[in-house]
Amino acid sequence: MQNKGFLRVREIAAMILLLVGVKLSDSTPALLTQKAQNGFWLIPVISFICIFPSFLLMLYLLKKYKDKNLVHLLEAILGKGAGKAVSFIIFLFAFLSMTLDSRNYIEQIKLLYFPESPTNIIFLIFMVVVFLGAKKGFEVIGYSSWIGLPLIKASAFTIIFLVLGDLVLQRIFPIFGSGLPIILKEGVVKASMFAELFYILIAYLATRETAKFNKGSIIAALIAFFEILIFYFIYITVFDYNSVAKIAFPFHDITQFISFGEFFTNIETLFMVFWLFAAFLKFIIFLYITTWIFGVIFEIKDFEPLLLPFGFLVGTIGLLPFNSVINELHFRETLLTIMSPFFIVLPVLLWVIALLKGGLRKK
């Protein structure tokens, strides 16, 4: 690992913001609206409330067991074999969500900007860029994320600013959509929309002082949560729930909807550029940390050569689903549903075991 300890709070925060925050632009809203209708924008709140304590618990455990990353922590608490097994499950989750998400993003690019191009070519270009970016190492990814973040966020805020005039606040009512129980249930089931927070814990030792990582990740998690909330709120107030359920990519519909004055009426390409930066960076980080998890599980010190085969696998497996609807509404929903209880319960379980084993007392 090319880690010289140059990463600070800001780089960690930037990476997590990109990894988690870009979610606001994919087709998750359509997924959520199917059941929750116009209460869907509240689902992230429930999800966040469910999963954030677990995340904090993980950070607490990592802090107690010094100098360990995610996999090493699991091994220390559960024992070598079981730890590796659980880590491998996490790796599978990360790998699958990366694969399904990447298909999702490719579909967005294809449908909106290159409708006549074959999906494989776009996938190829996308994965080549992601691979070459990931190849530069974690630190460089961190620097690039931080330098790119202000531009990406500025474009997001421009969108919010331009769309303000089109909000119809009444559309959020009835506030709980199809009913509070459904929202609560969906919130818990889809809690894994924040699952990326756990994957990045593999980089726990990337900063020189782990306190910086803690600070960066907590700040970034909160900001990402609020961003997602704000954008979901905008979707529901601009489109109403019936449309959101049918619009696959509300973010891009917003960018097509807004205009900059009378003259520039189609400015979506401008936002597409920054969205692409964010998407590229998200998958660069995703690919790198997934490979990293794999490398640590199988004790491969120099795991960076694995980036190429993994990038290739993501591309090929990502192409397997017949179309984006199956990909989205079937596979991705199933995956999210399986992952949610896992990530909510696992940290608590770890904590209890650590408590019983006495691992928390000695430090």
Binding site: F6, L7, R8, R10, E11, I109, Y113, F114, S117, I122, I125, F126, V128, V129, L132, G133, K136, G137, E139, V140, I141, G142, Y143, S144, W146, I147, G148, F263, F264, T265, N266, I267, E268, T269, L270, M272, V273, L276, F277, F280, L281, I284
Partner: protein, 492 residues
């Protein structure tokens, strides 16, 4: 075989100086092909102070004749005294005991004196290499700020630096590079600031150079850099003494050679290429305004053609309808695809530029007329190029002149073609991807251990002088990424 020859030669030259004058004279005559070598001069005389025969050797082309006459020959013939050093009135006299040093000294413009029954020779500095006078900077122009530029003389250049930095800690160390032609490289730094690791790294790289000769700093740059194939430069080259001094004050290291009218500055970051000293000479707002313009120029010169290709070919819905119609109308009679048009114009501009540099002075104005007329108006009228492409190419060409540093300028101009091709292949998707890869590549570059985009990311304590600068009074720290001995410019 070659190596053996070299070592043999070296052994021969390591010979110590003989006791007898005639043997020494013979040796020297042989070494320098006396008689054949027209400007190699020998002068025998009888020294008055010890009544012994003596002989002077030097290259008449690289020493000052007057100095030799008045300060060496005249005293030797007329003065009486105990020691040689009390007789000659030249600045410094060094004792030499072997032929290799003697030969080296003569090559660097010194006079060697042999005396009968003395196995030491005396080397006296009378060097007078021809060089230009200090002139106004031609390639890096300022409106506000000192105008002088380095010239091809080490002493003059150091004097230009010392004139600005009155500090006894400013050290000028010299290292010899080259096996056959031993040229001197001078390392200049402020001793109580510089980071010793960086300094020893530079010295080590200089020592490791194994080549017959390095004539000047421009060649040295390529021997020193880590990644010769890289698109991005990692050493800064400047001909402005004030720029060099500003870097010295911040703890950077500077290399000078006698043969170049410029210096090398290292380590560098992206910002060293982006900044111009004039940004600091101008008042806060004016300086930052010019920074903003330069940043825009960076974008325009590297991306505007590519952006146009991407938008016109793949995302034409983005162009407002009226403008789109205007563009389409102007392209109606053009037979070529857009990408071809852009490439013609960009290459044509590069042609004018390259030709413009090489063209002899009296013909200078012609190129402007020919270039503007043929490539602008005539090409449009002949329906080969559409007017909008002329505008785009002119814009990107013009903006490239705002990037003053030559290396960065080339890097950006090459990048422009990469971006155009990327944009032509897959619109904004490929363009964004290409930009991101190149950006991340730049971020991964380290110049002597310093990350390219520091102090922006990774963050370091510094003046925070990146895209925009602060007011001078608020600049407290020196660049933290250099890890200097004294990190503060001022106490609060």
């Amino acid at each position: 075989m070659r190596k053996m020859k070299g070592s043999q030669k070296q052994n021969k030259n390591k010979e110590t100086i003989h006791y007898s004058l005639s043997a020494n004279i013979e040796e020297m005559k042989q070494s320098f092909s006396y008689g054949l070598n027209k400007d190699f001069a020998m002068r025998t005389l009888k020294a008055k102070y010890n009544e012994k025969k003596a002989c002077l050797f030097y290259y008449s082309s690289i020493v000052n004749g007057d100095t030799i006459t008045t300060h060496i020959i005249k005293p030797l013939l007329e003065q009486t005294g105990e020691k040689l050093s009390n007789i000659v009135t030249i600045e410094n006299v060094e004792e030499v005991t072997d032929f290799e040093t003697a030969i080296q000294n003569i090559n660097s413009g010194k006079v060697i004196l042999f005396i009968e029954q003395d196995s030491t020779a005396y080397s006296m500095d009378a060097a007078d290499f021809q060089h230009r006078t200090v002139t106004k900077s031609e390639n890096e122009r300022f409106i506000k700020g000192p105008q002088d530029a380095f010239t091809e003389s080490l002493n003059t250049n150091i004097s230009l630096i010392r004139k600005q930095l009155h500090n006894h800690q400013l050290v000028n160390e010299s290292i010899q590079v080259g096996k056959r032609s031993k040229n001197e490289v001078n390392i200049i730094y402020v001793k109580d600031l510089v980071n010793n690791d960086i300094l020893s790294n530079i010295k080590k790289r200089l020592d490791d150079i194994d080549v017959d000769s390095i004539r000047n700093i421009e060649l040295l740059e390529q021997y020193l850099e880590e990644r010769p194939y890289s698109l991005i430069p990692t050493i800064l080259y400047t001909e402005k003494p004030d720029k060099a001094t500003a870097f010295l004050e911040d703890g950077y290291v500077i290399l000078l050679m006698n043969t170049s009218s410029a210096c090398l500055i290292m380590p560098v970051t992206f910002w060293s290429f982006f900044h111009s000293p004039e940004d600091r000479y101008l008042r806060f707002l004016y300086g930052n305004f010019s920074r903003a313009i330069r940043l825009l120029c960076f974008y325009l010169t590297s991306m505007i053609s590519a952006t146009f290709v991407a938008i016109a070919n793949f995302h034409s819905e983005m162009i407002p309808p009226d403008l789109l119609l205007a563009i389409t109308a102007s392209r109606e009679r053009i037979p070529f695809p857009l990408i071809f048009e852009i490439l013609i114009m960009e290459i044509a501009f590069e042609l004018i530029r390259e030709a413009g540099i090489r063209i002899p002075n009296p013909l200078g104005p012609t190129i402007g007329i020919v270039g503007a007329l043929i490539l602008g108006q005539a090409a449009v009228e002949a329906n080969i190029i559409s007017p909008i492409i002329v505008i785009i190419a002119a814009l990107s060409g013009l903006s490239s002149f705002a990037i003053a540093d030559l290396s960065m300028n080339f890097a950006v101009r090459i990048l422009r073609f990469i971006f155009i091709l990327a944009a032509a292949s897959y619109g904004m998707l490929a363009l964004t991807g290409a930009f991101l890869i190149i950006f991340m590549y730049a971020a991964s570059i380290k110049s002597f251990g310093v990350p390219f985009f520091s102090p922006m990311s990774p963050e370091f304590v510094s003046t925070k002088d990146t895209i925009f600068r602060k007011i001078l009074k608020k600049e407290i720290y020196r660049p933290g990424y250099l890890d200097l001995k004294d990190n503060r410019k001022r106490s609060e």
